[in-house]
Symmetry: C2
Subunit: 497 residues, 2 copies
Amino acid sequence: MSLTDRTKPTDVALNTDLYELTMAQGFWESGLVDTQACFNVFFRENPFGGGYAVACGTGQIADLVENFTFDDEAITYLASLQAPGGGDMFKQGFLDYLSDFRMDVDIWAVPEGDVVFPREPLVRVEGSAIACQLLETALLNLVNFQTLVATKTARVVQAAEGHMVSDFGLRRAQGPDGGLAVARASYVGGAASTSNCLAGRIYGIPVFGTHAHSWVMAFPSEIEAFRAFAKSSPKNCVLLVDTYDVRRGLANAIKVAKEMEAAGERLAAVRIDSGDLAKLSKLARGMFDDAGLPYVKISVSNDLDEYTIQSLFAQGAPIDSFGVGTKLATCDPQPSLGGVYKLSATRAAGAVEWSPVIKLSEMAYKRTIPGVQHVLRFRDEAGCPAGDMIVDDSVAVGGTTTIVDVLDPETTYDVSGHDSSELLRQMVEGGRGTEAGRPSLEASKQRCRDALMHLDPAVRRFLNPQIYPVGMEEGLAKLRVDLAREERLHSGRRQEA
Amino acid sequence: MSLTDRTKPTDVALNTDLYELTMAQGFWESGLVDTQACFNVFFRENPFGGGYAVACGTGQIADLVENFTFDDEAITYLASLQAPGGGDMFKQGFLDYLSDFRMDVDIWAVPEGDVVFPREPLVRVEGSAIACQLLETALLNLVNFQTLVATKTARVVQAAEGHMVSDFGLRRAQGPDGGLAVARASYVGGAASTSNCLAGRIYGIPVFGTHAHSWVMAFPSEIEAFRAFAKSSPKNCVLLVDTYDVRRGLANAIKVAKEMEAAGERLAAVRIDSGDLAKLSKLARGMFDDAGLPYVKISVSNDLDEYTIQSLFAQGAPIDSFGVGTKLATCDPQPSLGGVYKLSATRAAGAVEWSPVIKLSEMAYKRTIPGVQHVLRFRDEAGCPAGDMIVDDSVAVGGTTTIVDVLDPETTYDVSGHDSSELLRQMVEGGRGTEAGRPSLEASKQRCRDALMHLDPAVRRFLNPQIYPVGMEEGLAKLRVDLAREERLHSGRRQEA
C-alpha cells in the first residue's frame, strides 16, 4: 500500500510496465528520440451492457504529467536491474537520458463528467514516441478505473431516481488508492457523499456514515446503544435497526426519536442492512408515519447495485437513501473498462505532416481508426447530443453533416442542422497542465449531471439501450478504408526484410 | 491517486469509514473508553467457487498499526466537519483524545501465504473497543483485496503447471495502490514476476516485460523493429509476433534469432497476444524447432485466467509462460472477497475474563462464532492439513480430537492421531509489530508454495472441490449453541428499554 510504503508524487514515472522502459531504451538507441507519435485512449464497448460511459480521471492527467520525472531513487532502481540473460538491463547513456527526461507532451481529453462512447478518443496524446510510450501505463491506470466507477455510479444514481447515494466501498477497494479513486469518481458520477474520510480530506467530498452492528452489541440493550448514539451524535443520528429483530429495532428507534424530540433534536434516519429491504422499508415508513415522525428518513444498504435499487422502487419501497459499497467499488459485474492506448499517427523529427497509422486485426472490430483525431459532438435544438463525429482535419472533406459508422461504413447518420462543439479539451500543453486540465471536482460533478440530463433516455436505459451514433467524418472514413486496403496489400511487404 | 495527492504514512488513520469515528466518539462519550473488545476478520465463502484461499496483506498489518496516528492535518480536517443537522460533527474533547491516540492493540493473523478457509479467523484483534473500531476499515481494505488476488494467482499458477506466470495487470488496477497490491499479492500467490516497475522498486519483485505492437508499428517494417529491439535488449529479447500476420511474424523472429546467434546472443522468447493461442503456439513451436531453435520460448497473453490456461494445456499447447493482466488485477469474475469484521467477545475495563458475544441473523449461515478464537491446524503423517479446529481456551473441554462443523453441528471430523499447530501468529503486541509481523516477501512466497503443495488435490481442484474440514472445538461448539439459545430467548429483552 502506498500509504505505508512511503511513495512520493514522482513515483508516477515508475508506476509503469517494464516494457514501456525497454521500448523507450530501444527508441533512444535506434535514434528515434525525436520521432513524434499520436496515441489515443479509447474503449471498444460501453461497460455493463449500457449505452454510455462517463469520463473520469482526465482531470488528474495534468498532475500526472507534471510529476513525471525519474528521480534519483528511480534511476538507482533501474540501474540495479539485471537482464535475464545477464548484464545490465538499462544502459548508462539511457539512464542519463531518463534523468533529464521531461514529459513534454500535448494532451487533449474528454472533460471529467462528460459522456463518452466506444471508439472515440477519451484521451489523445501527442509527443515523442518515447514520451508517449512512457506515459501509457500510468495514463491507463488513471483513467480506466475512474471512468468505469463514474459510469457505474451514474447508473446507480439513475436507478435511485433522485434519492441520495453514498459510496460505502472503501473496505472492498484495492487498497487506499482504490478507495480514493472510488470516492472521487463516484462523486463525479453522481454520488452525494462517501464514507471515506481520507477522500473527504483530500478532495473535499462530503462524508457520511451511521453506526455498525458492533455498536449495538457493545451495550447491554439496543435502546441503550441507540440513546448513547443519539446523545453523542444528535445532529447526525442515523440508527441501524437490524442488529436483532427489525420490528423491535424500529420500535426502539421510535422511542429514541420521541426522546430526541423532547430534547429539541431530530432523529435523521434509520438504516436497514439486511433482510427484505422492500418489505422492511415499508414497515419502517408505516411505523414512523403512525408515530407522527414523517421526517425520519429510511436508508438502506447491503450488496446494492442499480438493479436491486430499480427492483426496490418497482416494489414501491419508500427508501430515501442508499449506501452502495462492494458493487460500486469493484464495479461488479464488470471490474475493468478495457480501455486501450493505440498509435494512430507518426511524424518524423522536424516534419510538419502527420502520417496516419492503422492497426488491422483478425477481428474487424479491433481495427483502429487512423489519424490525429478530434471529436465534434452535434446537439439538437434542446442541447441534447445527437451524434459524435471523429475528425482528422488533414483529410476532412469539409462541411459534411454525415457521420460514417465505424463498424459498418454503409451506415451513416445525418446531423445536418445541428450545431457542434469540440468534445476534447486540451489538458496539457508542452508538458504543463492547462486551466481545463485542472477542473474542480464540483465542476466535473455538475458537468456529469448536465450531460446525463441531456442524454436521450433511450441511450440511458439499462436494457437494450439505443446505440448512440458515433462515427467518422467522411474524409476520415475514406482514409481508413484506403489505409486498411494499403495495409492489407503491403503488410506482407512490411513483414519482408 | 495517492501518488499525486501527496499522502503520507499516517494518513492510514483517515483511510476509514466515517462511522468508525462517530462510533469512537460515542464510546468516548459513553465512558466506554476502556471497554475491551475482540474482533475477527473472516470470510464466509471461498472465492471463485474454489476450495481454499491464500492469506495475504497480513504481513503489512504491523506497519498499518504503527503508523496509525491522527496527525495535525487529520485533526484539522475532522474539526472542520459539520453535522448535517448543524454544529461540529466532532467535539473538541474527542479530538484531543484522538490527538493522543495510540493504536495499542494485540493482533494475531494467518501468516501471508498460508491457506485459510471460510469462517476461521484470518485476523484477530484485541484492544479497546475504540481502537478495534477505528482499525476496522483500514484492516479490511488491506487484507480483503490482497487475499483475493493471492488466491486468484494461486489458481492461475496451479493451472500453469509450473510454467511461469507474470502479473501484467497494472493498467486495469484501481490506481497505483491497486497495482502495487496486485503485484505484491500475486507474487506471494505464485507469480514469478510483475510488469510493474514501482512494485519492483518497493518490494524487490522481479520485473518482466517484452514490447508492444506500437513498437513494431513505429518502424517501416517488422523485421527492422525486431532487429532494433534485439540490438537494444539482446539479453532480454522477447519479440511480439502478432502485430501483422503471426506466421510471417514468426518467420521474421526466426531470421532475427539466427542473426542473434551469429552475434553470440539468444532470442529468449516470442509473445503471442491475439488469435487462437493453442493453434498459434503449436505453429510457433514447430517453426522454431524446425529452424533449430528449440531454446526459444513461447509466451502468451490476452485475457487469460485459470480456465483459459487449463484449456490451452488440455489442447496440448506448448506454452512456456503466461502474462496475466486484467483478470488477475480485477479478480474477475469475483472482484471482492467479502471479508467481514465481527465482534466475538467483550471485557469490562479491568476485568480478566472475556464475555463471548454472538450475532444471530435471519440467515443461519451468517450466525457468528463467539469467543476469543485461535485455530489448531491438524496435519497427517505427510504434513498435509487434515482439518482446522477453532478453539476458545476458556471453554475448551480439553484433549478433544473432534471438530464440530460450523454450519451443521451434527457433522463432526475426527482428527485423532494427528499433530496440530497454531495457525495464527501474533503480528502486533501492544501496538508494536512483532518479528512474525514483518515477514519477508520471499518467505511468504515460500510459505504459499509449501502450503499449496501439501494441500489435498481434491481441495485444490477448480470443479466441485472437496470441502476442507473447518469447525469448532467441542467446548466452543457447545458455547455457541448455548449462547445462540440464550440470545434468542433474551434478544427480546435486549430490545426492551
